[in-house]
């Protein structure tokens, strides 16, 4: 039926056809006219059944509980779970992206093997589908062979965003039973170990902190991107709405960063600091707190006679000061702080003296106050010192374990695993030659990173160099180091030599070098547990419940690992047969809730599945008026002894918050040798000029932004279109440059530019932004993928990692992503 190409005709037609209700395509012409099937016109669909399942968002580490809406087998909506303590029914901008991730047309559809032996960016892997049995048998055969040869250490499992006991939690056991020190190696050094380890140096705990923001009256933030990236982002914003819009008194906020972002814009005071100098600012703040007598005496201690003797430039007699919960304050003052005046810090940081003074006075005189920091402050060669200087501020104002302060996170009451791995260890597992092998990343080794937790960024380069040895087989879970490691080009060469197994549900740069693809489910298809990242301290763990059966022939990574384990010779296979599958593991974890039901009534597997979360308030420890107390069921009524504080709160050799770090002092020989720091001061928070490699004249900082959906955002069109609202980057991400800096180099606003470091060059488009420091260029780490999918491919700017030098903090092992200097020129 051909209709007249006029709107009037169409409307008449629709009126008629809706009465007739006839089916059949209508042949409208192109152009402005609407083409509707008759049956589509004016039909209002009303009857359908929607099912809601519980899950946890996957787009960042925060672990927001989500309700997943499925109608007629299609997932179409995601909202925060109202009864979930982190999400509270809300979502950050990344939360709704889950539907796109599930139905990403570029997903791997099943297990595959490589047919092209040549590996490279321009080599088609020639992946062909295989069965799961063939895939798992292939892996097991390699692993059994290595073990037979006494070379099981040459198998590595490297992982990024592990979630819980049913995935990443299974890996360590696998390594112990199989016999490899390299199973598993996490990505924490490429994440934020600089934060964890600089805190460990002082408080002995070694974990990310939990924070009680809602009761704080001042927040001092160093490079955390509180309103862009800091976890739990969704809850941070909920708290922000409360502390800035509801709470009386309104919480004061000072934010320190290297460019103007939404966090700085929303704060009372924005400090645009020179990259890598956050520690200098923190030292000056400490100086002012002491000279002006603003420290928290019940926590820190005081001069015997109450007379403040902290005077700029003057030493203090340690005998005159009685310390309470800190150790080494007077040493810190005499060796470092006495000269760290605001005027000195102004020179180092490029900030104004008046701003440093005002910040210090406000922080020192407002209780409770929290100093928080992440990668912006510590991803530099001096990172551990910056981190220690900032964290020490929390001690000076008595915020540790205080109401409105910060604390450590408690774990969930999980039940034991179905069987004990210790009963399944053969002689090889207990005494095999692998026992004497160092880790491939030289973590914990004096030639490498003695004090680090992980050194994933060293793994590729070390294997390539054969130092300490060459790997044979490497398996990846939730990590894509060719793209995420600095100078990932080295990883490309390293992976050419190895048998590579990737388990991502999606194509990526590392997957393109894989010999086997064993694709995981996407998160909305998984049954997976995930204890909380540090949140508010009290224990919390949650569950992903599949919204729909897997769309493709994929397998949950935890089950892939168990199935491989079943195929390893010896008692190891019996262990994995006894585990059965991840659902059995999760059911056993949930048995722990029977004895310790959650506040929401979750007491077993079924109720956990229904509510999606188990948690138990309140937090057990509280510092108040000079004492540490424990929860007695009704109040913080149990006074803790010094020994209890040492065992549970400050896990240092002194049982105190060590401003003079005993842990660093124990390793003074090694630290002095590897860092060149002097033995007199290497154990205290002090200023050290950061080393900026790369050979350029501008700092390059590549932050995570709000729309960065971990591992997948670059291939989601909706995320791409909203990635960079400040500069209007809707199909590209602009490189921020201060107009003055650009004009000096003859670079026009919007021009295509080339960034160059000693490693090479990348291109992209720049935009003028007065909120960017003139000595720094900024752009989000997001685009530049060449193998992630159709939308990611070739999108500018090219990848910052290719010009980021692989330099790490020698103490924390933190990969210094934000410290390379580059040059910029118009193309």
């Amino acid at each position: 039926m051909e209709l007249l190409k006029t709107a009037l005709s169409r409307r008449r037609f629709l009126k008629a056809s809706s009465a007739a209700g006839a089916l059949g395509a209508v042949g409208f012409g192109s152009g402005a006219l609407t083409r509707l099937r008759e049956a589509e016109a004016q039909v209002h669909t009303t009857t359908f059944e929607t099912r809601i399942t519980k899950n946890i968002c996957h787009q960042c580490p925060a672990r927001c509980g989500i309700d997943v809406y499925t109608t007629n087998g299609r997932v179409h909506a995601i909202y925060g779970t109202t009864e979930h303590p982190i999400s509270n029914g809300k979502l950050c901008p990344k939360g709704p992206l889950g539907t796109y991730i599930l139905y990403d047309p570029d997903r791997f559809k099943g297990p595959m093997k490589r047919t092209n032996p040549n590996k490279g960016r321009n080599e088609d892997p020639g992946f062909v589908p295989i069965s799961w049995d063939e895939a798992l048998d292939t892996v097991a055969e390699r692993l059994n062979h290595l073990r037979d040869q006494g070379e099981s250490h040459r198998f590595t499992l490297a992982y990024g965003r592990g979630w819980g006991a049913s995935c990443a939690g299974l890996q360590g056991t696998f390594g112990a039973l199989y016999g490899s020190p390299n199973v598993a190696i996490g990505h924490s050094s490429m994440c934020s170990d600089g934060s964890i380890i600089s805190k460990k140096a002082l408080d002995g705990v070694g974990g990310y902190n939990a924070y009680d923001y809602a009761n704080a009256n001042m927040l001092l933030m160093f490079g955390v991107g509180f309103l862009e990236a800091f976890r739990p982002y969704n809850n941070n914003m909920q708290v922000w709405g409360y502390i800035r819009g509801v709470k009386v008194p309104k919480t004061r906020i000072t934010a320190v960063d290297i460019h103007l972002n939404t966090t700085l814009a929303g704060s009372d005071r924005a400090l645009l600091i020179k990259p890598g100098t956050d520690g200098a600012l923190a030292l000056a703040i400490a100086h002012v707190i002491l000279t002006e007598g603003l420290w928290e005496r019940p926590f820190v201690g005081d001069f015997h006679d109450g007379v403040n003797r902290f005077k700029s430039g003057e030493r203090v007699d340690p005998e005159l000061f009685e310390e309470k919960w800190v150790k080494g304050l007077i040493d810190w003052w005499n060796l470092e702080l006495k000269d760290r005046t605001p005027a000195w810090a102004a020179e180092v940081t490029s900030l104004y003296v008046r701003d440093i003074l005002a910040t210090a006075r406000e922080f020192g005189s407002t209780r409770p106050s929290i100093a928080l920091f992440e990668r912006g402050a510590h991803a530099h060669s001096n990172g551990v010192l910056n981190g220690m200087a900032i964290h020490a501020l929390n001690a000076l104002v008595g915020s540790l374990y205080a109401k409105g302060g910060l604390m450590s996170q408690m774990g969930p009451s999980y039940g034991p695993m179905p069987v004990d791995a210790k009963d399944f260890m053969d002689d090889y597992a207990q005494n095999g030659p692998w026992k004497t092998q160092p880790r491939i990343d030289l973590k914990g080794h004096k030639d490498g990173y003695l004090l680090a937790n992980n050194m994933l960024q060293e793994l590729g380069p070390n294997s390539l160099a054969g130092h300490p040895y060459k790997l044979d087989t490497i398996m990846f879970y939730q990590t894509n180091p060719i793209w995420t490691a600095p100078n990932g080009q080295v990883w490309e060469e390293a992976l050419k030599e190895l048998f590579v197994i990737d388990t991502s549900p999606f194509p990526g740069e590392t997957a393109m070098f894989a010999d086997l693809i064993l694709p995981d489910h996407t998160y909305l298809e998984r049954l997976q547990d995930a204890p909380t990242y540090p949140f508010q301290g009290w224990p919390l763990t949650q569950l992903r419940v599949p919204a729909i059966p897997p769309l493709y022939d994929t397998k949950y990574f935890g089950d892939t690992l168990i199935e491989i384990g079943k195929r390893i010779k010896g008692p190891m296979s019996d262990y994995y047969k006894a585990l059965g599958d991840t659902e059995n593991v999760i059911r056993h974890l949930a048995k722990g809730f029977e004895a310790d039901p959650g506040d929401n009534g979750v007491k077993d597997f079924e109720s956990w599945k229904e509510k999606g979360v188990w948690y138990k308030k309140p937090y057990v420890y509280r510092y108040e008026d000079g004492e540490f107390r424990k929860w007695d069921g009704e109040d913080y009524g149990i006074l803790m002894t010094d020994d209890e504080v040492k065992a549970e709160i400050f896990k240092t050799s002194s049982g105190k918050f060590e401003l003079r770090s005993g842990w660093l002092e124990e390793n003074a020989d090694w630290i002095a040798e590897k860092t060149g720091r002097t033995r007199d001061t290497l154990m205290i928070p002090h200023w050290e000029e950061p080393k900026h490699p790369g050979g350029g004249d501008l700092y390059m900082v590549t932050p995570k932004v709000a729309m960065h959906a971990e591992g997948r955002g670059a291939n989601i069109p909706v995320a791409i279109a909203t990635l960079q609202p400040v500069l209007g980057g809707r199909s590209t991400a602009y490189i921020e440059i201060n107009p003055r800096t650009a004009r000096e180099r003859g670079i026009a606003n919007g021009a295509r530019v080339r960034l160059r470091s000693e490693l090479g060059s990348i291109e992209g488009y720049c935009k003028y932004f007065e909120g960017c420091r003139p000595d720094t260029i900024v752009f989000p780490m997001e685009h530049g993928h060449w193998a992630m999918g159709r939308w990611a491919k070739g999108r500018l700017p090219e990848h910052c990692g290719e010009i980021t030098v692989n330099q790490s903090d020698r103490i924390t092992g933190q990969c210094s992503y934000y410290t390379t200097k580059v040059s910029i020129e118009a193309v």
Partner: protein, 254 residues
């Protein structure tokens, strides 16, 4: 007969764009077809630079310019609830409404896609809609502009009519924190992490939205146009304020 309105507290908004992506998900919008957008501005010279943002849904005006100019009555004011809606069956794609709207909240997508390759080619429709993604929601009511539009029409925010219109009668406010009401709350309001958004009945004097407007000096955008938006903005507690058509002197126009 409710008159639904929205209040956005600019002191609490963090500029995160959760409203934008939740709307895009709930209403099956194309990348960049941001019915609910957040606009960013900056001014000043380093180091004293001001960065601002402004969340902007359709204002669902009482005297909507778009409704006045529409030659086919495709866009109309629903008397029951006060929604400004689109009838895709009547729209001829002339875009007068886009030009007439003072707020820039109307969209025409039959153009080159912002993000290439065009997702419409990846998920084509076999029923002559603009596209048909597998994650499409179940609600489809072309006479109210709900569901994926056909080609050649203008689209716009519906105030999540498919949710709000099912709310229990007489409810003064749709608060997402009340479990029994959350499914009736517009997507942008429901997800807003800092709780910068409130949704309720402007015709009920004691609704929370009216209280917020009164207590916190709610203002409407471009009030001088006489469009009389049903979206109010709160920004700061100062009593000094720009006179608006809501003040008693102008109330004769209501």
């Amino acid at each position: 007969m409710a008159k639904w309105g929205m209040v956005i507290d600019l002191d609490k908004c963090t500029g995160c764009q959760a409203c934008t992506t939740a709307c895009t998900m709930e209403n099956n919008r194309l990348p960049g077809e941001n019915w609910q957008d957040v606009l960013f501005y900056h001014e000043g010279t380093y180091p004293n630079v001001k960065l601002m943002w402004f969340p902007r849904p359709c204002m669902h005006c009482e005297n909507a310019s778009c409704v006045s100019v529409c030659p086919t009555k495709a866009t109309y004011k629903d008397p029951d609830g006060g929604f400004v809606l689109m009838d895709y069956n009547k729209c001829i794609g002339c875009k007068y409404c886009q030009v007439a709207c003072p707020y820039g909240v109307r969209f025409y997508v039959d153009e080159r896609a912002i993000v290439q390759p065009d997702i419409r080619g990846v998920f084509p429709s076999d029923t002559d809609r603009v596209w048909d993604p597998p994650y499409k929601g179940p609600h489809d009511d072309p006479a109210r502009g709900i569901g994926i539009q056909p080609h050649g029409v203008v689209s716009k925010c519906t105030f999540c009519y498919h949710k709000v219109s099912k709310a229990p009668k007489g409810v003064p406010d749709l608060d997402e924190d009340i479990p029994a009401l959350k499914e009736y709350v517009p997507a942008c309001v429901r997800v807003c992490p800092p709780k910068a958004r409130f949704f309720g009945d402007l015709d009920q004097p004691n609704s929370r939205v009216n209280r917020l407007i009164a207590d916190n000096r709610g203002v409407r955008l471009k009030d001088h146009t006489g469009n009389k938006p049903q979206v109010y903005y709160l920004s700061g507690g100062a009593t000094a304020s720009v006179p608006s058509l809501r003040s008693s002197r102008a109330s004769g126009q209501a």
